[in-house]
Symmetry: C2
Subunit: 204 residues, 2 copies
């Protein structure tokens, strides 16, 4: 790490539509300003339980209907393919654990894996809650299946994910995506223009 | 009304920070595309009760703190003055009733009044829940005080506001601001870029 500017922190859940939209843009936006991004998959189920919140599609019917419409329209607006999953929301601890295990070995591979998981869910409608699906996605990137299968059950990896979720709660993360730049928090894919301006000007 | 394109509908509560931000932009955005805007003040208290929701600042502490920070930063981003009110949220039925009464007589004056109410709350920290404040704001625009004082208690005006709130609920409004363009709904001041693109392209 010879970069002088510290990396951005990007908190997201693998079942978050707006997290997916952010994931397709944030690295390039940061790179334009000479910054890198640390990715932190977290579990919104735990965050929502701790903060007394709920997924958009499980709130009132008007908001739920609007949200699904907005996921699709926001994706078109941002030029990103999107098909609302038939299983939604769904559990993401296997995907998140796999991410942290891969990240410990090869952070570029972990990033590729994260993109592949998001696209499997939001483009190809795969059941990424299943360990088999997560393992299959990783195997296509050259990862050894049985090593990953073991890793998904390892106490160290489970503890790493728990620590990440605990830390997210501690710094005030209440939803996904949540991006922190030099201590400044931005919630939602629709804050990308503000993120760009913040990176450009240092603050505003 | 000789315009061929139908007006946009803009639903908002006078205590909504993002509604205020939208109010400072929506007429000009619509005008750039030859469209007018119908303004509909509504009561979020009733909308939230009906939909089981709550103001952002009365949700969990992390979200509440972020929201106040985001109101201020979003205002700076949009070039709009903003000072978070010391009374917040607050009741807005007097402001909304005054709006509908004025609108029945002079829609341009009603629009001026709406801007003045929003700025009284979000720039000058006035207590716009009080009928005296609402009457004072209107009087500065040349409105007769006692006529307005009577209007605030008139059954017709109370019924008009109730009808507007009922209609908003019926078409799916669950928060403020909520803009409808030819049947297409947009929730939040951060949907302005999508609104602009929609007006430009007819759809996307």
């Amino acid at each position: 790490m010879t970069d002088s500017a510290p990396p951005l922190d990007f908190y997201f859940d693998f079942s978050s539509p707006y997290g997916y939209l952010m994931s397709e843009k944030i690295d390039a936006v940061a790179a334009r300003h000479g910054r890198k991004v640390r990715w932190h998959p977290i579990l919104l189920g735990i965050i929502f339980k701790a903060t007394g919140s709920a997924p958009l599609t499980l709130q009132n019917p008007a908001k739920a209907a609007y949200s699904i419409h907005d996921f699709e329209r926001s994706a078109r607006f941002m030029g990103i393919p999107y098909r609302h999953p038939s299983r939604f929301p769904l559990a993401t601890q296997n995907a998140a654990r796999a991410y942290y295990w891969l990240d410990g070995q090869d952070c570029a591979l972990a990033r590729q894996f994260a993109h592949a998981v998001y696209r499997a869910l939001f483009v190809d409608d795969q059941d990424i809650s299943a360990p088999e699906t997560v393992i299959e996605i990783a195997a296509k990137l050259g990862v050894d299946r049985s090593n990953l299968e073991n890793a998904l059950q390892s106490p160290e990896i489970k503890a790493r994910l728990k620590d990440e979720v605990d830390n997210a709660l501690k710094i005030g993360v209440f939803g996904s995506p949540y991006v922190v730049i030099d201590g400044e928090p931005f919630f939602g894919a629709d804050r990308l223009p503000q993120i760009e301006k913040w990176l450009e000007t240092g603050a505003f």
